[in-house]
Symmetry: C2
Subunit: 305 residues, 2 copies
């Protein structure tokens, strides 16, 4: 266990803003600074200025960065710490860690959703679980996965929002994903729902037939996550889920029906309200994920590279 009094610096890099947190944990946040995400040079310099001030005034044990992606996470790669092939203009090739070496502390880095998953494990809805999944359905669909205690990484990281899944019979709307059309994100993200409905997701009644398609897509995502990474729980939140209270119960039912008794399905069905649950940390999971990454880096004594 980490000493509960030690301070850590977390930086959540988001597409529109970055949140910097100085904290020992969720109940002891000493400072929080929000910085708009503009150009890499401007944004990273502003973050470094915040960290320099914190180091001078409070000190911290380590820095964790939880970022949008895709990210190069292989420490053996010369591109470690850079954004690769990202749709966000100007950010491909930006190195998120290079400017942080000067602080001389361990640096942790992972995707925003892997970080959020670690925060839920440490302080939220996945405490005590070695294998579980965190899903957020909002502007995009992000999936963070922990398998046997470690976030999933290899050639890249989870991008399971872009899984190929079956369509409901008779539905032919082509989907909104610029890469895959009707992948999960292309059908069930907030912008996809709005593109098909013509109004924002939160304006749709729970009886709108678009929700059938959203439930089908997200249900297939949950089915495929159960059978690939063997989670003990799936935490699912984000704006689309939070904005439509009937969605979560329907997703639970869709998963049970889709698994149809196979393998671990009876165990899941017996406790479905606990198996598919909302995250406990809400919108704090992102920045707290960066703090969790800092703690993990300090525990591993990662060199400040």
């Amino acid at each position: 266990m980490t000493d509960p009094k030690l301070l850590f610096a977390g930086v959540e890099m988001g597409g529109t803003k970055c949140v910097c947190l100085l904290a020992t944990g969720p109940d002891d946040i000493r400072d929080e600074v929000r910085i708009p995400t503009t150009t890499p040079v401007e944004t990273l310099a502003a973050i470094e200025a915040v960290l320099a001030r914190w180091q001078a005034t409070h000190g911290f044990e380590a820095i964790g960065v939880a970022s949008f992606g895709p990210l190069e996470l292989d420490p053996a790669s010369p591109l470690y710490g850079t954004l690769v092939n990202t749709p966000k203009p100007g950010w491909t090739g930006a190195n998120l860690l290079a400017g942080l070496k000067v602080f001389g502390v361990p640096l942790g880095l992972d995707t925003d959703v892997n970080g959020a998953a670690l925060a839920e494990r440490q302080w939220g809805g996945a405490q005590g679980l070695d294998s579980f999944t965190y899903v957020t359905v909002g502007t995009g669909i992000g999936v963070g996965s922990v398998v046997r205690g470690r976030t999933v990484r290899g050639l890249g990281h989870s991008e399971a929002g872009h899984l190929r899944i079956p369509r409901l019979e008779g539905r032919s709307w082509p989907g909104a994903c610029p890469f895959h059309g009707d992948c999960v994100e292309g059908l069930a993200s907030g912008p996809a729902i709005q593109a098909q409905a013509g109004v924002p997701a939160w304006e749709l009644s729970s009886a709108d037939p678009i929700w059938e398609e959203v439930v089908e897509a997200l249900g297939a995502l949950l089915h495929n996550l159960v059978l690939t990474t063997a989670p003990r729980r799936i935490l699912i939140g984000g704006g689309v889920v939070a904005g439509q209270p009937r969605l979560l119960p329907r997703l639970r039912q869709a998963l049970v029906e889709s698994l149809n008794g196979y393998g671990v399905a009876p165990t899941i069905a017996a406790d479905i309200d606990s198996f598919v649950a909302e995250p406990a940390l809400g919108t704090s999971a992102g920045p707290l994920g960066a703090v969790a990454l800092a703690q993990a880096a300090a525990a591993r004594k990662d060199r400040p590279i």
Copy 2:
């Protein structure tokens, strides 16, 4: 590294036969015994007799069991080591490890495909890789996954043969999976192909339109594996792949087209023949997987429970 002269006992439990191997590795197999899979009592007693003879004559450091499933793999569960909810008649509840405690050596246990993946990592086509996937397409479709050096386990283990995937436009054959109909296994396993075609897969010409559906289904499986467990390579073999030489190149093309440039796709496309490759150990991967599990158990000094 394991001392290359140490002997290990491996038991691959298959649906029709079990293969017991006494070996230091693939180039030094001292004995191999095949036992038909009948009832648990009869089959497990025959395996234990082989192991007892080996212990008396040669000795071994550890025993590894690589088995068909579904298996309870959680050491904290009272059912650890038993087959759960398996379609194989008579085997649900059979404990594969209970009778092995008497040998007083570490016991390793995992699924047949996770074991095969470890064997490919140790001696075959995945050497040096921390994250990769092993797929076999035959009587069923089995998927073994290694993430950051560990086989995927949690609530159960990978059952990714049963992923939900899109259908080709205009195809409506309902699929052969008794649980999910047109999941990957329901469309692309050997029995599924035969059920749809009326003849065995190896009798179909490479121009038969059924292959379009098989390529679509397996291509979607590969796409979904890339985006969930982030493999650095996917080894894919089994009777269906080995029996149709045009299939592997078509799967490579299908994966590149399906990913469509997203995320790590350019890296995969640049080296696709290496990224999607045949396993190196062929049909030996199964029993050698059990030997690899024994080695891993010895290295961890698992208690013989």
